[in-house]
């Protein structure tokens, strides 16, 4: 099997997803048996002009100026994978999308200086065609390996569950947040991470985005009735990671 040439690129993000990759430890060397990193700015100075087999893109598309760079990546790469919530859905960056005064809030008078320009935080797929996604904030490194292994083997369809996190909570026999006087977005959040948050005693914040056809109305109702959230919080709850998935986005 020829090694698959992979390159990593980053846009607006915290770069935590690539950090997750370093957390594999020694087994990472095994992955290098069939994956050849050809460009990875944070980790290597090498650059390539060659055609790339797989481009992994982290971060949101949040400045029009980034469009050209993205188009160049698309042109050079056979497969484009958006990995991490920022790239897949806009992630946490999209929390500001519904407001207009965010720049002033952070930079005050200086907000109008041109180098501080920014637009809505959008998924990479808003700028270029994305072939596969690896959602999550951060990504689940086991899933990353699963996807990479499939790409290495030429799989054309990478499976991402369309059921919600509750399924995985139940399979792990996690105490439901709602049974612990808490709230949770698990019922509408896309699974695939193996539900680490409720297992650790905190709500699922839907960092992997919403499932297809999420029942948002029921979610709001359950947040208020079972989760005991004030109405205003329940209404805003899904802005954290899924602002771009909301019906009102």
């Amino acid at each position: 099997m020829a090694k698959v040439k992979c390159a990593w690129f980053d846009f607006t993000s915290c770069e935590g997803c690539q950090i997750e990759l370093t957390n594999f430890g020694e087994p990472f060397v095994e992955l290098l048996e069939h994956v050849e990193p050809v460009e990875f700015r944070e980790a290597m100075s090498e650059k390539t002009e060659e055609q790339i087999d797989v481009a992994f893109i982290e971060g949101s598309f949040s400045r029009e100026a980034d469009r050209r760079r993205l188009e160049q990546i698309r042109a050079r790469a056979s497969i484009v994978v958006a990995y991490g919530a920022c790239a897949v859905s806009g992630g946490v960056n999209a929390m500001k999308n519904h407001t207009s005064d965010y720049a002033e809030e952070v930079y005050g008078e200086d907000a109008k200086r041109p180098h501080l320009a920014s637009q809505k935080a959008l998924p990479i797929a808003e700028a270029i065609k994305v072939d596969f996604i690896i959602p999550g904030c951060p990504i689940d490194k086991a899933e990353f390996v699963r996807v990479v292994e499939q790409l290495v083997h030429g799989t054309t369809k990478v499976y991402v569950p369309s059921y919600p996190v509750c399924v995985e909570c139940k399979r792990r026999e996690t105490l439901c947040r709602y049974d612990d006087n808490d709230h949770c977005l698990g019922p509408i959040a896309r699974a695939g991470c193996d539900a680490p948050c409720p297992a650790d005693g905190i709500p699922c914040e839907a960092c992997r985005g919403m499932i297809d056809n999420p029942n948002e109305a029921a979610m709001e109702k359950v947040l208020v009735e079972n989760g005991k959230l004030p109405e205003r919080w329940a209404k805003d709850k899904t802005r954290m990671f899924t602002a771009n998935h909301r019906g009102d986005a």
């Binding site: 935590g16 980790a43 949040s62 005050g108 905190i202």
Partner: protein, 446 residues
């Protein structure tokens, strides 16, 4: 000397986030010499507005994936201060362990993956796989240990799950029972002590490579936490150290009098200054400030590597990081012993007693980090401010450039050599650029 130099490093590699180095020398005179930060701004302070206090740390953790533990802890401390929460002794100790884990984890990453290639003359760690396989494997092994160590306490090292306002949402290792939690801690202790041989090897490697560390001194002001429990890392007050040895202690709540942020055109991140035009906040600053509080084993390492505090060579930050990494291993063992001696307890997070405003500080691998929030009566955030160490270091990096470039010119270095020297300097700071682009000084507001 009539030299022309044109260095234009766009998106410097092997650093977190985006930074450019631009140096123009025409006929021997420096026309431009800049460290630029073009990273796109992310507006976290605006995003936390209106969010519930239980969500705020979870959001601000996403400022930076490398120091997300630090952001979480600084955020929790600020929120707890604003909400009148005093955490338990056990929480305090477990958080210290978590903080040490991050420090170790990040320092290993920096020393091995970002700095070592420079010292070994490689463009990255990957070409080292065939040539220095054992070094790479050791690096990955140590990196993994850092990850497991932090995960055991925090659930995850990138955006930790279990550290919540008022304490922890579950026992170490997600244990169902206290007994299991204690067993998990004991196992971690064994693992930590088991990594000593790897640390010794790293020590030897660094010793061999120390000769490649450039000689360059620029005395500056050092700022970092000083704590009476331990070496300033998780908690304490703001300490400053001037080149002449003068020290000052400032309360964390008065952090703005330290940071004094301002906006410059070459950067989307704000700059900071205190007594001088710039200051440094980094591992070097911490070791300079807290040398006496280092664990004896870490001191041995420092001496072995010829490190003497105070040290004014910014390139030595990598050495300071390794000294800290060793310190973190031994301090964690000590805290585990303390937790076990008192008996692990299944504690519920402490509830708020008021809603107001408060600041919190913690050290992240690259220096001191401040968070501040205000909350309304229902616990929703009305104001947020984060000041990130890399932001605090940008002006100091620029200061170093201003001194280093003429020195390099005087030494008649080639353009390539100059470029490498400048790149290595920036990397030595281990900058976290993306996180440095979101912070706010409210005094700028309208």
């Amino acid at each position: 000397m009539s030299k022309n130099v044109n260095i234009n490093v766009h998106h410097l590699t092997r650093v977190e986030g985006h930074g450019n180095i631009v140096v123009n020398v025409t006929d021997g005179s420096i026309e431009q010499c800049q460290w630029q930060v073009p990273e796109s701004p992310r507006f976290f302070e605006a995003m936390v507005r209106g969010r519930h206090y239980s969500e705020v740390a979870r959001i601000t953790s996403r400022i930076c994936g490398i120091c997300s533990v630090g952001h979480t802890l600084a955020s929790l401390k600020a929120t707890e201060c604003a909400l009148g929460i005093k955490v338990s002794k056990q929480t305090d100790r477990l958080r210290r362990i978590l903080k040490h884990a991050e420090n170790f984890d990040s320092h290993v990453l920096h020393v091995y993956f970002l700095v070592a290639p420079d010292l070994l003359g490689a463009p990255s760690v990957f070409p080292l796989v065939p040539t220095h396989g054992d070094v790479v494997k050791r690096a990955l092994r140590m990196k993994r240990l850092g990850h497991e160590w932090g995960s055991l306490i925090g659930g995850r090292t990138t955006h930790p799950t279990r550290a919540v306002v008022g304490g922890f949402s579950s026992l170490p290792g997600g244990a169902r029972t206290v007994r299991e939690g204690e067993a998990n801690l004991r196992e971690l202790k064994e693992k930590l002590l088991g990594c000593v041989p790897d640390a010794v090897e790293t020590f030897k490697l660094l010793g061999d490579l120390a000769a490649n560390i450039p000689a360059f001194d620029r005395p500056t002001e050092y700022i970092g936490l000083v704590d009476d429990v331990e070496y300033g890392l998780y908690d304490g007050q703001v300490g400053t150290l001037m080149p002449d040895g003068t020290r000052e202690i400032i309360d964390v709540q008065d952090y703005r009098s330290v940071t004094n942020e301002y906006v410059v055109d070459q950067s989307t991140a704000k700059y900071c200054k205190h007594n001088l035009d710039s200051y440094a906040a980094c591992a070097l600053a911490r070791v300079n400030l807290n040398y006496d509080m280092l664990h004896p084993e870490a001191k041995k390492i420092a001496e072995g590597l010829g490190f003497a505090a105070p040290c004014f060579n910014p390139y030595m930050n990598s050495v300071a990081q390794f000294i800290e990494a060793v310190h973190s291993v031994y301090m964690t063992v000590q805290f585990i012993d303390e937790v076990l001696a008192d008996g692990l307890k299944d504690e519920k997070p402490v509830e708020p007693t008021k809603f107001g405003k408060g600041a919190g500080a913690t050290e992240v691998p690259r220096g001191i980090l401040f968070h501040e929030y205000a909350y309304d009566d229902e616990g929703f955030c009305t104001m947020g401010n984060c000041i990130i160490p890399t932001g605090q270091n940008h002006a100091n990096i620029q200061g170093d450039f201003d001194k280093l470039v003429p020195e390099l010119l005087a030494a008649d270095k080639s353009e390539k050599e100059m470029e490498l020297a400048l790149e290595m300097l920036v990397r030595a700071y281990d900058p976290c650029i993306s996180c440095s682009t979101h912070y706010l000084d409210v005094t700028f507001k309208k």
